[in-house]
């Protein structure tokens, strides 16, 4: 009876398309994706460029990002300092390149940490159900009532400043957000016949969760993860801008804005413009890529 119901919801053509897509060679599939998702492709290239910049920062940056050149303070963009220098005479291009490393390190760590913990909590909440689900969901309600930046500020106030503590501060608010979305999917999965069948066969709960539920939540998980990447970069920049994130003299985009954005907005606007641009483009790239990924992985959107 349940099997018939599924057949109605998933038409045969869709199932065949799924199977065909699964059999398609990687590059062909990539080509199709590039054609279907031009914005996603551009954003992916941007992300690859960012990752490249972060990995090869020592080779790419023309100067040490933390060493001041006091004779070159507030130099406008020129042949030597392509994007100019800041108030300490530090090369802005080098600081942006190294800042990519900070942004991606914090972005990826927070996104992976937050969405993975959210996945575990969401699946556990859905599968266990009962009072456990009730308690977890009410706690999540409380957390979701606060904006991300407020929660991050509270976490910074509790844990303190510095890169490691900022990671915790940013990752924590992601956990309930991801858990809520994953739980919705896991609740539906829990009722599906193959889960019933697994239970009937006497498989352990852990095995059912790991083998049958979690893999089917991966699409949601990946979409959440990519959306968190942009948010994490933006929140790190915000915290650093407020002086609560990464500390001087480390290179971080938000910190670069904090140091000179207001004071030198008129006399040396390059101090604010280039790090601001880096933040905007990075967040834009991750958000666009997240959208494209969602379009690809969500069967409902794909059917359209």
């Amino acid at each position: 009876m349940t099997g018939e119901a599924i057949a109605v919801r998933l038409p045969r053509a869709d199932i065949e398309a799924e199977l065909a897509a699964a059999r398609r060679p990687f590059f062909k599939a990539l080509g199709t994706w590039v054609r279907n998702q031009p914005l996603g492709t551009v954003s992916l290239l941007g992300i690859i460029f960012l990752i490249f910049m972060a990995i090869f920062a020592p080779q790419l940056s023309p100067f040490d990002p933390v060493v001041p050149h006091y004779d070159e303070m507030l130099a406008a963009p020129n042949a030597e300092y392509w994007l100019g220098t800041d108030q300490y005479g530090r090369d802005i291009l080098s600081r942006i390149i190294w800042g990519a490393r900070t942004a991606l390190y914090i972005g990826f760590t927070c996104a992976i940490l937050g969405s993975t913990l959210g996945l575990v909590l969401g699946v556990a909440s859905a599968y266990i159900g009962g009072w456990f689900d009730l308690v977890i969901q009410r706690m999540i309600d409380v957390f979701l009532a606060f904006p991300l930046i407020i929660l991050a500020l509270v976490a910074v106030a509790v844990f303190g400043t510095g890169t490691d503590k900022v990671i915790i501060a940013i990752a924590l608010p992601f956990v309930p957000e991801c858990a809520r979305v994953v739980r919705a999917g896991a609740l539906a999965l829990r009722e599906l016949p193959y889960v019933d069948a697994a239970r009937a066969l006497g498989f352990s709960n852990l095995r059912i969760i790991l083998r049958h539920i979690v893999p089917n939540c991966m699409a949601t998980y990946l979409i959440m993860l990519t959306s968190f990447l942009g948010q994490a970069i933006l929140t790190e920049a915000s915290l650093s801008y407020l002086g609560l994130g990464v500390q001087e003299p480390n290179a971080a985009w938000g910190l670069m804005l904090q140091g000179g954005a207001e004071e030198y907005a008129e006399s040396a606007m390059w101090i604010a413009v280039f790090p601001g641009l880096a933040i905007t483009l990075a967040v834009f790239a991750f958000n666009l890529f997240g959208d494209a990924l969602r379009d690809t992985l969500d069967p409902k959107l794909r059917a359209r």
């Binding site: 933390v66 060493v67 001041p68 006091y70 303070m73 507030l74 108030q87 300490y88 303190g160 400043t161 510095g162 002086g243 500390q247 001087e248 003299p249 207001e262 004071e263 030198y264 907005a265 008129e266 006399s267």
Partner: protein
């Protein structure tokens, strides 16, 4: 001959032009009555009680409501010694009885804003509250009056201060801009009344305050300095963000900010407004310093502390940092240029002030090596989370120390938590510190560098009885030459021999204001000369 005639004509024309200009400027200098002075204040007053607070955020909007016994001469505030009477008669009295008694005659025409007469009893009640506050009443500067034995009013127009010992520090301490005269009858009823209410005898009468927005005062028609104030009133606009304050002046929504702007803001305003902006600058009676935690390894070792100071290129720092931060003058622990302060030549004999930075850093590396300090470790540098000048100087310092091989990780905290760490938890290896004073009074200002059990604002936790002994001897002297000698000893002990704590640079006060603001003159402290009674608007 032709040439001589041409020169003569040119000279005559120049003389006429100068005459016209001088006459014009003389005319412009005749004060005009009327107008409302609008100024911006970077913070709001925590309470209204000047005796308990120590912030400019109180002085700027509330100071004009009060009078002082004596004050820095508002027409000559840059002088370090020109102190004049406010509610007293004539000149500041000379001491008698072996320089231990000061007798002040109080004016008979001073009235509180409620209309009641201000008498010597009010002055005595005020100073008793400041010097010997009752339990539960906070007085921020009571330690400045350790030399005072008694203060009495034999009649309603005489105040007598009796000192335990003669001290040159007494009169400057008495002229503190926070020593507002309160009404005895009010204090008798409630010592805390002035924390939430205002009733002064100053040039302006409190009208209204809108929390988070502004505070307004109106001209006091019964002000005891006849003909003053020139203004009809003032409006103090609270604006925490510096960009907002700069824009307020630029857009003529405010005419001045009395605390001071960094160089970039000055340059922007001058560039945008040209002659409509006048800039006044002065060495600031505030010094930024760093203090090692003497209870933590390796900073318990004098060699490591000396290495820290030797690594810092103060002369170079002055050149570069003065372009981006409100610091400039190289000096020691006392206000540069004061009679008790060391000369540049004397300072250059002190470790960390040597003119040859290469030699200094070589010595720093040697000392670090000799001390066996763990240079692979990253030490914690506590930084006050305020851009100007703390964070900027801190970033520069970290680079200076890195050049001799000792690495610091900056940990920035907002002012509240920062002070909590300094005063309570003491979890830092080295911290930024500052000493911001009022009337230039080195004899009192250096109390910060006394042993921890004698100074509540010394955060290095060191005990230095040599410094304490030199200070105790110095404070009891009246001969400036001998005091200067002892002050130099204290400076050397603090900065070099015992390497307790280190001044870096003295702040530089930059006040760009609308050129129509006249009469206000910059002083070495943003707390002083804020009565606004001689300020007028040339509009």
């Amino acid at each position: 001959m032709k040439s001589i005639r041409r020169k003569a004509v040119c000279t005559a024309l120049a003389a006429i032009a100068f005459g016209i200009s001088a006459a014009g400027s003389a005319g412009a200098q005749t004060p005009k009555r009327g107008g409302i002075l609008e100024f911006v204040v970077p913070d709001e007053p925590p309470s209204y009680d000047g005796h308990r607070e120590g912030t400019f955020a109180l002085i700027h909007p509330v100071g004009p409501f009060y009078s002082l016994l004596i004050r820095i001469n508002p027409d000559n505030p840059s002088s370090l010694t020109d102190i004049v009477c406010d509610v007293c008669v004539g000149k500041v009295p000379a001491p008698t009885d072996d320089n231990t008694t000061y007798t002040f005659k109080i004016r008979g025409d001073v009235k509180f804003h409620t209309g009641e007469k201000l008498t010597a009893q009010d002055v005595v009640a005020t100073y008793k509250k400041i010097i010997w506050p009752p339990e539960g009443v906070r007085s921020q500067r009571r330690q400045m009056y350790s030399m005072v034995e008694s203060v009495n009013a034999p009649d309603d127009s005489t105040v007598v201060f009796k000192l335990k010992f003669a001290s040159n520090a007494f009169i400057p301490a008495l002229a503190s801009p926070f020593n507002w005269i309160y009404q005895k009858s009010v204090l008798d009823k409630d010592m805390h009344w002035y924390e939430k209410n205002i009733n002064g005898s100053g040039p302006f009468i409190f009208k209204e305050r809108e929390a988070g927005a502004f505070m307004r005062g109106e001209r006091n028609p019964d002000y005891h300095h006849k003909g003053l104030p020139y203004l009809d009133g003032f409006k103090a606009i609270f604006a925490k963000k510096e960009s907002l304050r700069v824009q307020a002046i630029r857009g003529d929504r405010a005419a001045i900010e009395f605390r001071g702007f960094p160089p970039a803001a000055r340059d922007d305003l001058v560039k945008a407004l040209g002659k409509e902006i006048t800039v006044q600058e002065s060495v600031w009676n505030c010094g930024i310093s760093f203090v090692p935690n003497h209870k933590r390894k390796p900073f318990d070792d004098v060699r490591v502390r000396r290495a820290l100071t030797l690594a810092v290129d103060r002369w170079g720092g002055s050149k570069y940092l003065s372009k981006i931060a409100l610091v400039k003058t190289v000096g020691g622990i006392t206000y540069p240029g004061h009679a008790l302060s060391p000369t540049n030549e004397e300072m250059q004999q002190i470790a960390g002030w040597w003119p040859d930075i290469k030699k200094s850093r070589a010595e720093a590396r040697r000392l670090l090596k000799e001390s066996g300090a763990d240079l692979s470790k990253e030490y914690k540098f506590l930084v006050r989370g305020v851009d100007q000048p703390y964070k900027i100087v801190a970033t520069w310092l970290v680079d200076q120390w890195k050049q001799v091989g000792i690495n610091f990780k900056q940990e920035t905290h907002p002012t509240g938590p920062y002070l909590n760490i300094l005063r309570q938890t003491k979890e830092f290896d080295v911290s930024t510190d500052a000493s911001c004073n009022y009337v230039v009074n080195p004899l009192v200002d250096v109390t910060k560098y006394l042993s921890a059990d004698r100074s509540s604002i010394q955060y290095g936790q060191f005990i230095d009885r040599d410094v304490d002994a030199a200070y105790d001897k110095m404070i009891r002297l009246t001969d400036v030459k001998e005091q200067r000698k002892l002050m130099l000893d204290i400076t050397k002990l603090t900065l070099d021999t015992h390497a307790n704590q280190f001044s870096i640079l003295w702040w530089h006060r930059i006040v760009p204001h609308r050129s129509y603001v006249k009469g206000w003159k910059i002083s070495p402290s943003h707390h002083m000369n804020q009565h606004l009674d001689n300020v007028w608007l040339d509009k």
